[in-house]
């Protein structure tokens, strides 16, 4: 029932393609007996009308090995099918309602997915390597450069076109066209102007103002110097009223450290401290990460991003790393209720260097 249909071209080329040894009923006929292209008219295809010489053998070199491989591949494909069904089952069966259930679901979905893909991949690889006949074909490669006549002809076509366009002959047209493209290229960039406001002097200021309270980050409670009695500790403070404003916090976030009496030294500005408590900007002067690590024994403030190290008792001067400047010091004092407040804004821009900083 699966007789090879007679090809409409000339019969097989007997020389280099002996008929396949034997065929099992139900398998496709040998390749040379087939044509992929039905009954084309053959017009216009030129030499494509004759059947191609046979390159690929119809059967693998080792039929016994191929048979074994076939069983393995089929088993792998069945495994893949089962794994995919398992994936669907895991999706339907495992509801998400807790962290543990997410873990279970991820394991089940991931494992079944991996097995499904892996079995397909291994199966297909064995198929290619052991069931398809081994072949190595050689294809000729021709120089990419065309022959001189073709290049010449193309050059002529190009020159003719250039001439016909009058582009060369009429310099006024050429120059005005070029002139027209320049603003055309600039226009879209101008269109982007409203992406943001101009920087102006924004980077010079933070929201700190005279009398603004320092709130403990997280608890958002004001701090009285007496209660803040953890010498050696460092806490993060934010300006009162701005604790939920990321834009304000990105520049105004600061740290306070309380030292043992006598430890603070210049260039720390003593008038800006209260009760041996000093306040520095937390924004690293390198590229703006929070300088969040404090080493109690050495009194070093360390930025975990690029490891700039600041000497806390000495005006946060730079000890090591890529930061070019000390962390700016915030002048602080206490208000009528005895809580820590700012005396003013920082006296210099906080954070990384920028062109207009000066």
């Amino acid at each position: 029932m699966s007789n090879p249909s007679a090809p409409d071209g000339p019969p097989d080329e007997p020389a280099d393609a002996p008929a396949a040894p034997h065929r099992v009923i139900g398998t496709p006929p040998p390749a040379q007996a087939r044509t992929l292209l039905g009954d084309g008219t053959g017009d216009g295809t030129g030499d494509g009308a004759r059947p191609a010489p046979r390159d690929l053998p119809a059967d693998p070199q080792n039929l016994r090995q191929a048979k074994t491989a076939e069983r393995i591949v089929a088993a792998l494909f069945i495994l893949s099918t089962l794994a995919s069904i398992g994936f669907i089952a895991a999706y339907v069966g495992l509801e998400l309602n807790s962290v543990d259930s997410v873990l279970r679901s991820n394991l089940a979905l991931g494992t079944s997915m991996s097995v499904a893909f892996l079995a397909l991949a291994v199966g297909a690889t064995i198929w290619v390597r052991h069931i398809m006949p081994n072949v190595e074909l050689t294809e000729q490669r021709h120089p990419l450069a065309s022959d001189p006549e073709a290049r010449e002809a193309f050059a002529e076509t190009f020159a003719e076109g250039a001439e016909a366009s009058q582009f060369v002959k009429r310099p006024v047209l050429r120059r005005t066209l070029i002139a027209a493209t320049v603003p055309l290229a600039v226009a879209p960039i101008v269109l982007l102007r409203d992406m943001g406001p101009l920087p102006g002097t924004t980077l010079r200021h933070t929201v700190w103002r005279k009398g603004m309270r320092l709130l403990k980050y997280g608890a958002y409670t004001p701090i009285s110097p007496g209660e803040f009695s953890s010498p050696g500790g460092m806490i993060t403070v934010v300006p009162d009223g701005y604790q939920d404003d990321p834009d304000a916090l990105a520049s105004a976030t600061s740290i306070i450290i309380k030292f043992q009496p006598g430890l603070l030294q210049p260039p720390t500005v003593m008038n800006w401290t209260v009760d041996n408590i000093v306040c520095y900007s937390k924004i690293c002067t390198h590229v703006g990460c929070p300088a969040a690590l404090y080493e109690q024994t050495t009194h070093h403030i360390l930025c975990p991003c690029h490891q700039s190290t600041f000497d806390a008792p000495r005006g946060a001067t730079v000890l090591f790393g890529p930061a070019p400047r000390p962390l700016p010091q915030l002048p602080i004092t206490t208000d009528a209720q005895g809580y820590l407040v700012a005396q003013s804004d920082f006296h210099e821009p906080v954070g990384p260097s920028y062109w207009e900083r000066g």
């Binding site: 294809e139 590229v287 991003c305």
Partner: protein, 563 residues
């Protein structure tokens, strides 16, 4: 006729009727793909990209690119009641409330890492085997652009969930932008819509991440593959492979099946990693706030070298004429990447100029056969590697229990010494391997069989290298001589290209670049140009002289003496 056959015939006919495709499709089906394991590297990149598109599309179904503040009430109880951006909340939602969401998120992240890693290694393969040479320079350039886009794409994607780590990455990006002279503050204000962090950066990065860069990548990948297809694949040297042919398996059905299998392998590996190896657990980092940071946090690996570069560089800044120039940010952020990418982009043309080699190359070099190029590549890897390690110096210092500052100090020296050492060591190794190749060709392979000659002398038998091996070993071709080089010494006046200072530089560079063990001698003393050594040696037999071996008649590989 079976149904399958009918379908096949019908499809073929249908396509040809509409697209006149019979010849074209046949050529396509019979297109030859040479085999070499390194040719899979580019495929890994391609398939990672496809997997990124698939998983990324899934993620967009739930992800909210918005910085509007919400209070979290999802399944992840530790963050209940915490204020966060919608971007972060929706990422938590994908992770904990969408079935398969965590898996897809992790596959997406692993695939991004694999994508960049595969591109990197693929580019190294292209470089070390000289596959970028004429006529493939354009594809090399496209590759460099795609690599740059992949880095950006990764950085932007990493920033989207708005967790503490990703926000810190953006903060560093802001710091770097601010460091650019004259336009830096404007760039930063325009990108962030004002001061950092603002409330527009995530939607802006989102559209760049899901549309602009993937679209560009898709277009460039298409061009990359089309050019590869049109110029035909390069091949590694082996028997029967020449500059005018391509040897391998045809596309249909072999390459199609293999590459299909490889897609599933890639997907399976990523799925396995995502099942068993957690990546980017954003719920542990918490939502972004400019106030906080976690110690020991690392960016994705491909950003590591930039991070290291920022750490290693000293704190140089200039305050002049009322302006600040932040060399401490500018140089480390732009120089290493700029140096590597610009150098890589120009290299094919520099090499062409130095060697004067304008021929087409379709058979790849074995890295040892071009020692200077290989040495330059290894020096670059070392340069990159030092920066990359420095990007993790806190982790290294912690594990090795050494001072953090010491690691940076070491890296500050290693960044100069390392590449130089790598250059010279690599060059020596390559030249040594060349000598080994020559030795194998001349004396054959040691068999481990010791034989006593009638005279009482013991010798070790050798076996000539087989034909396949010879084809590989003999693949080295001497580079073409420069016009007016020593090989053309009989001409009194050097040609114009070789005159003057530039010509002398070119000649000197040519000597360095073409430095190899001479093919005609034993290779003692190297230097590209004839050392008069070859003439003294008549062609030697390829193995133990067969006259002796035949003496007791036990030689396995007897062959006629060549001498």
């Amino acid at each position: 006729m079976t149904l399958t056959e009918k379908l096949l015939e019908g499809t073929g006919g249908w396509l040809d009727d509409r697209f006149h495709g019979a010849k074209g499709f046949r050529t396509l089906f019979r297109k030859i793909f040479p085999d070499h394991w390194t040719f899979l590297l580019g495929e890994i990149a391609l398939y990672s990209f496809i997997i990124l598109l698939l998983t990324g599309t899934f993620l967009t179904l739930w992800f909210q690119p918005s910085m509007t503040e919400v209070v979290y009430h999802g399944s992840y109880t530790p963050l209940h009641g915490v204020r966060m951006s919608e971007a972060y909340a929706s990422t938590l939602n994908i992770s904990f409330d969408v079935r398969g969401g965590l898996l897809m998120r992790q596959i997406h992240h692993w695939a991004a890492d694999l994508f960049v890693a595969a591109i990197l290694v693929h580019m190294l393969r292209i470089f070390f085997t000289g596959a970028y040479r004429k006529p493939r320079e354009v594809n090399w350039l496209i590759g460099i652009v795609m690599f740059t886009l992949a880095l950006l794409e990764g950085l932007f994607g990493y920033s989207l969930p708005d967790d503490l780590l990703s926000g810190t990455g953006l903060r560093i990006t802001e710091g770097v932008l601010l460091g650019i002279p004259i336009v830096g503050t404007y760039l930063s204000f325009f990108l962030f819509g004002g001061t950092f962090p603002g409330n527009v950066i995530i939607p802006r990065l989102y559209i760049i991440h899901v549309l602009l860069i993937p679209g560009l990548l898709l277009a460039l990948i298409s061009a990359h593959l089309f050019i590869m297809f049109w110029q035909k694949h390069t091949q590694m040297p082996s028997k029967g492979r020449t500059n005018t042919n391509v040897v391998g398996a045809p596309t249909y059905p072999y390459f199609m099946a293999k590459t299909g299998a490889f897609f599933f392998f890639t997907f399976a590996v990523l799925a396995l990693a995502s099942t068993f190896a957690q990546i980017n657990p954003i719920w542990l980092y918490g939502p972004y706030t400019p106030v906080a940071i976690s110690a020991g946090s690392q960016p994705d690996f491909y950003m590591g070298f930039l991070e290291g570069s920022l750490r290693i560089f000293p704190s140089w800044t200039w305050d002049i004429f009322g302006h600040t120039i932040a060399w401490n940010v500018l140089i480390p952020a732009l120089l290493p990447l700029g140096l590597i990418l610009t150098g890589a982009a120009l290299w094919p043309f520099i090499e062409q100029w130095i060697t004067g080699d304008r021929r087409e190359h379709h058979v790849n070099d074995r890295p040892r056969n071009v020692p200077t190029r290989t040495a330059i590549g290894m020096a670059t890897i070392t340069f990159y590697g030092v920066l990359w390690l420095e990007g993790a110096n806190d982790v290294i210092a912690d594990h090795l229990n050494i001072s953090l500052y010491l690691t940076t100090e070491i890296a500050r020296y290693a960044i100069f010494i390392g590449p130089a050492v790598a250059y010279f060591v690599t060059k020596r190794i390559c030249l040594g391997l060349q000598r080994k190749d020559l030795h194998l060709l001349e004396h054959g392979v040691e068999t481990g069989i010791i034989r006593q000659l009638p005279s009482g002398e013991y010798i070790e038998e050798t076996r000539p290298v087989d034909e396949d091996g010879r084809a590989v070993l003999e693949a080295r071709r001497p580079p073409p001589a420069l016009p007016g080089g020593p090989d053309a010494a009989d001409e009194e006046v050097p040609p114009r290209a070789m005159r003057g200072g530039l010509g002398r530089v070119r000649e000197r560079l040519n000597e360095v670049l073409t430095e190899s063990v001479p093919l005609d001698g034993h290779g003692n003393g190297y230097g590209g140009h004839g050392n008069g050594h070859g003439d003294g040696h008549p062609a030697e037999p390829a193995a133990i002289p067969s006259g002796e071996a035949a003496g007791d008649g036990s030689g396995d590989d007897q062959e006629d003496g060549q001498a």
